[in-house]
């Protein structure tokens, strides 16, 4: 490739930000000062340079968090450093919502206006902000700050929520919840912020918790405390019994993936372990972005070493030597916790060249997303790690054969990995005894909306929807439940009649519902469901990657149709409009490339199936 960079390269400040990530440029060929003595007669580049493409997102993050936006000269400098064509880098930078390619003030409040926060008054909050600070996206006062609307920030239990970013020499990124307009204005004024308190253990008094037992109890920053509470016993056990036995135990546990697709984890691991192509990769999918989901955030903030240990076990079993933990860009506290955990584990010899003296080598690289729900789709996540637009790949081939960097890859959700620890220490058979025949083990549910005590709750599979709502204190004020959203924006609405339904993979499937990522969002009789549906439609329109026609255009047509039904300006009769809504949904479900488009109509269609739920 003939790299053609037109125009000036970055300012000294922008260069310093990029160099802090990539190191100083080695020659004039990659953006350094030209030295005719050493650079004059030899080019550099080739595969070694182009292999650094996967540093594109970290480099873009560096400029974004230093300056507050990514100028064309800064983009050009990154392109020189990584041998990426400027048009491609521009395509990547404009794909992710946390990057700005036009000037943006350094201090930004990202205010969540998604479904759970709307139930807690987010729209009124945005209205207040518009009146007091000006419209979203417009510079405030001296131009140093602005506010933007944001999709779900994973703080639904504390709604309404906001994320504050301050670009500068010492960039600040903190989330806050609950927030009000005066609090947001004050933070925008100061540009400072203190981190939200650590997550609370809602069921801390229960002694039999497996996944949440350390959350809110054990210091998440201390490796010693983690080990003192049983941490790293699973890895020691895994090394003692060997990789094949670990695979057997995980298979015997009948553990199913907790990210939404419910694929048997043992089968996935065994398939990767059996691949002859090398190297193998382990990827932890911590790009939790499904509206209403915050369980992975709680695990990462409250028990980060568990994820690190479980990834190490996954790598040991599948013969991988490098892992990537891809965390969503809007989780600053979780990112900080995980970074600390990886560093401490490495310092203690629990990551690195010779883990626990066994000769097994494994390390973890943390990658931060940049505001794209689609990157939770596993192949889009690979593309993002590789430094590309998060566009899902066509399947087959599946990641177990051709995954990250084209190599066999095991990719697991944070909660899935958390289950691995007790499977290895207590055995797969004993894990399989927990729960039901088709759904084994403990499960986390994210309770939000109109419940007295929103939060993450752990139960054994088999608990009913009603049990979970009771655990969360029921509906406040004695009001009646109007509907419940199961599984998030990509899930389905169910009615009161579903309260007795056990929340297992098999029972929800039989009922035409889904567990998805474990979202239980309760709407009481006061909720404006038309507003909720329109926000869900908007979410998919905003988050579609745009690659395939059914999702790119279908998500727009679905949103328009709901808008005109709400405005009473139908194109045809109501019946014809509802047939059209179903046909849009079916084409998206049948013909889209990935799960985003395939489920973009799920919740909306389910709402119309429930008698009397929406009056449109």
């Amino acid at each position: 490739m003939d790299l053609h960079v037109v125009g000036p390269l970055a300012s000294p400040v922008e260069r310093a930000a990029v160099d802090a990530i990539l190191g100083a440029p080695e020659s004039g060929w990659v953006g350094g000062a030209r030295d005719s003595g050493t650079d004059g007669h030899a080019s550099s580049g080739g595969h070694a340079l182009r292999a650094r493409r996967s540093q594109l997102l970290p480099a873009l993050h560096a400029v974004q968090s230093r300056i507050g936006w990514i100028s064309t000269p800064a983009l050009n400098y990154i392109c020189k450093r990584l041998a990426v064509a400027p048009a491609e880098a521009y395509g990547v930078a404009t794909f992710y919502a946390l990057y700005a390619t036009t000037p943006r003030p350094p201090v930004v409040a990202h205010v969540c206006d998604d479904i759970a926060c709307r139930l807690a008054g987010a729209e009124a909050l945005c209205g207040d902000l518009t009146r007091s600070l000006g419209p979203a996206g417009e510079p405030i006062g001296d131009g140093r700050a602005t506010w933007l609307r944001s999709p779900c920030l994973g703080l639904c239990d504390l709604a309404p929520a906001a994320l504050f970013t301050t670009a500068g020499e010492r960039p600040v990124m903190v989330s806050a919840a609950p927030v009000d307009s005066a609090g947001i204005a004050a933070r925008l004024e100061s540009g400072e912020g203190s981190a939200r308190p650590a997550p609370v253990g809602r069921q801390a008094e229960r002694g039999d918790l497996r996944l949440l037992r350390r959350v809110g109890i054990v210091d998440p920053g201390s490796l010693d405390d983690y080990r003192a509470s049983g941490g790293y016993r699973a890895l020691a056990r895994a090394i003692e019994i060997g990789p094949d036995r670990v695979l057997e135990e995980v298979t015997a546990s009948k553990l199913m993936g907790r990210g939404g697709a419910a694929f048997p984890t043992g089968r996935k691991w065994a398939a990767v372990a059996a691949q002859s192509a090398q190297p193998h990769y382990v990827v932890c999918n911590a790009d939790e972005s499904e509206p209403g989901t915050f369980k992975d955030r709680v695990l990462l903030e409250g028990d980060p070493f568990a994820t690190v240990e479980a990834m190490t076990i996954a790598a040991f079993a599948t013969r991988a030597s490098l892992g990537y933990l891809y965390i969503r860009g809007e989780y600053p506290e979780a990112e900080w916790r995980v970074t600390n955990a990886i560093d401490r584990a490495r310092a203690a010899g629990l990551l690195g060249g010779d883990i626990l003296g066994s000769g097994f080598a494994f390390d973890i690289e943390l990658r931060r997303g940049a505001g794209a729900y689609i990157c939770g789709e596993e192949t889009a996540l690979f593309e993002s790690i590789e430094g590309k637009r998060g566009e899902p790949r066509n399947k087959p081939p599946f990641p177990v054969e051709i995954g990250l960097f084209g190599k066999p890859t095991v990719v697991n959700n944070v909660e899935t990995l958390a289950n691995v620890l007790s499977i290895v220490t207590d055995g797969g058979e004993s894990f399989a005894q927990i729960g039901t025949e088709g759904s084994t083990g403990p499960k986390l549910f994210c309770l939000s909306g109109h419940v007295a005590q929103p939060g993450v709750y752990e139960v054994e599979f088999g608990a009913t929807l009603g049990d979970l709502i009771t655990l969360a204190g029921g509906v406040p004020g004695g009001r009646a439940i109007r509907t419940i959203l199961l599984g998030g924006a990509a899930g389905v609405f169910v009615g009161q009649d579903a309260l007795d339904m056990p929340l297992t993979f098999e029972a929800t499937r039989a009922a035409g519902a889904t567990l998805g990522s474990g979202v239980i969002m309760v709407f009481d009789e006061t909720a404006d469901l038309v507003d909720t549906l329109r926000r869900i439609a908007q979410f998919f329109r905003d988050e579609s990657c745009g690659q395939c026609v059914p999702c790119r255009v279908g998500s727009v047509r679905q949103e328009e149709l709901l808008a005109r039904l709400a405005a009473g300006s139908r194109v045809r009769s109501r019946e014809e409009e509802l047939i059209l809504l179903r046909e849009i949904g079916q084409a998206m479900r049948d013909a889209s490339i990935c799960g985003l488009g395939q489920t973009a109509s799920s919740a909306i269609e389910s709402a119309f199936r429930q008698p009397g739920m929406v009056n449109l």
Binding site: G7, A85, A87, T94, D542, G546, E560, Q586, D590, A591
Partner: protein, 348 residues
């Protein structure tokens, strides 16, 4: 290849000396490629008919052999399929969702339905999605039986179901759209489109992204599938995704080398020779009055096959056959655009 011995094949001085004394006879022609075993055949069922095709065939290819006409938009034979338009989807027994015929390879025992209710509905709605958001007036093969209009009729597609088209964007407006939150529809019963003014910023070709279905063909041809220039990429996200140069600069400020290979693979007329565009604007473009002459590019020694499209004794467009073993349908700036000297020859 066995009769080719290179000096460093051995370090034994005696052997080397023997080779130097009597070198092996020179092959009279370059060695051919090693023999390739014919691929095994795969048995499958298409629309209830048992079919046998070579391993590695796509479902689209297998359907073609059966005489089944499958609509395609983002598929061209000289580029790797990207399966993004989804108009070629078929139903495969056991698959939860429909699969793209253009890229999916046949497998033994596959049971393919090309005209089931699900297939017909998806194809209809996809054609409606495109018809309601993009100007398809020049899209696709325009032979009467395979035009977009004929497919729309076959599947009963009616793009007006979503309401009249919304306001077109101003020049450059779509180029500035940021990912993430957008201003939702107002409920005015119109359908959003990608309509925008044509980009005319150079003398060789124009870009009318009102006609762009985002099939990625131009990006792939500009990038690693042909030209390796990477002057354009997809920018933005979702419905706001668009083909863009770096920072959306005009072409003359971009990395573009004007090979025109993007025009060669564009299936919708969004990318067009300036000569063709000007003639269409003035109403003089008339394909029925054009001749196409296959010849060899007169410039360098590569010998690229070119097809000269001429109207009124003037060359109006240059293409290259996609089945040419020399070009694969791709040319450089000289072959593609360097024909003005012919048009400017003095009249005798």
């Amino acid at each position: 290849m066995t009769d080719q011995v290179t000096p460093n094949a051995t370090s034994d001085p005696d052997v080397l000396a023997a080779i130097l004394r009597s070198p092996p006879a020179r092959a009279s022609r370059p060695p051919g490629p090693p023999p390739v075993e014919a691929p095994a055949s795969v048995e499958l069922t298409i629309d209830g008919v048992a079919v046998s095709v070579p391993d590695g065939t796509t479902i689209l290819g297998a359907c073609g052999e059966q005489g089944i006409d499958t609509p395609t938009l983002c598929y061209v034979e000289n580029l790797t399929p990207v399966n993004v338009c989804r108009v070629c989807v078929v139903e495969v027994a056991g698959s939860r969702v429909l699969v793209p015929a253009c890229s999916r390879k046949v497998e033994a025992g596959m049971d393919v339905q090309t005209d089931s209710e699900r297939v017909r509905l998806s194809r209809k709605v996809v054609l409606e999605f495109l018809g309601s958001s993009v100007d398809l007036s020049l899209t696709g093969p325009i032979t009467p039986d395979r035009s977009i209009a004929a497919y729309a009729q076959r599947y009963g597609a009616d793009a007006t179901r979503f309401g009249p088209p919304g306001q077109p964007s101003a020049a450059g407006e779509r180029d500035r759209l940021e990912s993430g939150h957008h201003h939702g529809p107002t409920g005015d019963a119109t359908a959003a489109t990608v309509a925008q003014p044509t980009k005319i910023d150079n003398e060789l070709y124009v870009r009318d992204y009102s006609k762009c279905i985002l099939c990625y063909k131009c990006v792939d041809a500009c990038g690693e599938e042909a030209q390796n220039t990477f002057a354009i990429a997809v920018a933005g996200r979702g419905f706001d995704a668009r083909i863009s140069t770096e920072s959306a600069v005009p072409l003359p400020e971009s990395a573009c080398v004007y090979c025109g290979n993007c025009i060669g693979v564009c299936p919708t007329g969004a990318l067009m020779f300036k000569s063709e565009y000007d003639m269409r604007e003035s109403g003089t473009w008339d394909e029925s009055a054009q001749t196409v002459t296959d010849t060899i590019c007169p410039y360098c020694g590569v010998g690229c096959a070119v097809s000269l499209h001429a109207q009124d004794d003037r060359i109006v467009k240059v293409t290259s056959p996609t089945d040419s073993s020399v070009t694969d349908g791709h040319l450089c700036i000289k072959g593609r655009f360097g024909f003005e000297f012919v048009n400017n020859r003095p009249k005798v």
